[in-house]
Assembly symmetry: C2
Homo-oligomer: 113 residues x 2
């Protein structure tokens, strides 16, 4: 498996929903780049046993975690603990690019590990 | 626990060795900012059951993982898989700041979780 990525290369979005680009994944974690156009979002959801972090590479993000709401920009990071509802949206006007970590990998079993 | 951090605030180094600033930690992962002055390093070591990622916030990093050597800069990320020797050094001349993820947390038991 490739050991390095330049996150700057992952800029491609999708017209219908936010785009995910997987950088690394093992049973223990994944690291993805998410690309959200203005107005796009990842709906609020919950993982019972996994922690997630959103780190802003580019743009502005509105992140929900539990009852909290955070508006963050480049260099800022938000932790969404296991068991807590969370989601993210791009309020625009620019593109939003996030480095996303989740641990452990929520689909470890499905992926055959 | 605090749910957001601005990684730009974590710039303080140490004269004797590299500095760690813990952002978030649970049994499942930690996220730290490491600050390495020119010539400082994290010695090569191994975690049998934990994956680590180094993401460059500022400066240049030389990362060893197994037999591979990578020189990376801002926006680049390196994955050091569980069981593989890894380390990082700052070749200078500037400060190196890294966002570091490890999963699961290598000291979960010691921390009383």
């Amino acid at each position: 498996m490739q050991r390095t990525h330049d996150t700057a290369r992952y800029t491609e979005g999708r017209p219908d929903k936010f785009a995910r680009h997987t950088l690394f994944e093992t049973p223990r974690f994944f690291a993805d780049v998410y690309v959200l156009g203005p107005g796009q979002h990842q709906a609020v959801h919950r993982h019972e046993a996994e922690d997630k972090c959103y780190f802003v590479l580019e743009g502005r993000a509105r992140v929900a975690t539990g009852a909290q709401r955070h508006e963050v920009g480049p260099g800022e990071i938000v932790h969404c603990p296991a068991g807590e509802e969370h989601g993210v949206e791009n309020p625009g006007p620019g593109r939003l690019r996030l480095l996303v970590f989740m641990a452990p990998h929520p689909r470890a079993a499905q992926l055959g590990w």
